[in-house]
Symmetry: C2
Subunit: 207 residues, 2 copies
Amino acid sequence: MAKHEKISEAVVRRLPIYLRYLSYLQQVNVTTVSSQQMGMNLDVNPAQIRKDLAAFGDFGKKGIGYDVNYLVENIRQILKLTEEVRVVLVGAGHLGHAISNYNAYMKDNMRIAAIFDSDPQKWGKEVAGLQIQPMEEMAETIQAKNIKLAIMTIPATAAQTVCDQLIQAGIKGILNFAPTTIRVPKDVRVHYADVTSNLQSLAYYLT
Amino acid sequence: MAKHEKISEAVVRRLPIYLRYLSYLQQVNVTTVSSQQMGMNLDVNPAQIRKDLAAFGDFGKKGIGYDVNYLVENIRQILKLTEEVRVVLVGAGHLGHAISNYNAYMKDNMRIAAIFDSDPQKWGKEVAGLQIQPMEEMAETIQAKNIKLAIMTIPATAAQTVCDQLIQAGIKGILNFAPTTIRVPKDVRVHYADVTSNLQSLAYYLT
DNA sequence: TAGATTGTTAATCGATTAACAATC
DNA sequence: TAGATTGTTAATCGATTAACAATC
């Protein structure tokens, strides 16, 4: 595969969407799909889909389309989901609980492998089969379990400090639900998932 | 204001980020800010910030910068947050609860004004001061309370049906947490907030 | 005045889409 | 073979950044 073009962030954001639809097709026993059919269902231009996929290899057959199983396998590989991806969650509040219990990740080879909170009252309590641990154990656990991804569901005031600790411990990607921008080194990626900002930009389009 | 250029989605996504930082500056009694200082703190190019803001009006003073209060007021207006924006939430599961209780919206003039769920067991139960209502009452409530925005925290299987009902009832913007693409008319906006897709695209960047 | 910073233009960069030869 | 659909090139479109005159 790998044609070593540079892959844009926009492409990487679409790959999971493709994967999701293709997994659905597997479930309903569809074995072949065209870029046109995918485009229709995902609201993406078919040429876009072909270009996105072609950047990683020649997965399709001219005149036929794409083999669903083969494509699923390849996108999984591209997204590094072929072996279990462990994720740490920081902040066992309402949102943290909700995300921990929503274990739809599992089927995609992602798993929350540790949960931390600063509140002593919560330590030892079980969430989704894991005991909430004190922040003090964070670095050690992350290194011991070789965790590279983190989800932060903590207040904005704590975000930068916690983020610094996570990076110190070896985290390379953060999904940040805290309503604040965080500064990170170039080799660490942050995706923002703040609900308020997301809603506010929706409000712009009203009337 | 309004120089009737077409405003890109990227700009609209940044406005809430600007607003958040400016609100923070208000809290710490900073009255003036430059595009450079904002850029440093938000990781956005200062020219970008100036261009974004200039699209809506001349908010700054050459040689001085931007008056924080004045800018907050104007961005609020641009984002239509000057009067209360009511939001409906569909799906009172873990995630729905978490989002309802996380009422940081309030200070930004947004408020969850009704909550619906299909499970009869949940009807009448209180969440964040609201009683969970049956889906059957959705259209009526949305129209009665003149609600234009919706948050969907429901399973993927129900997403398209619920989304159709919401649009039928007059909803114009949807924040969709369900892990599926939904089809909507051109005048309705959807923002996607699925945790799994977001995490999966992060995984791509590992090693 | 000198220094700072905006608003805006022009240059660059990147992403999307259309079109079509290649080929199953 | 005829029809369908890919992979890819070229054209278009849009977004970001640099640079600087205007001016506080």
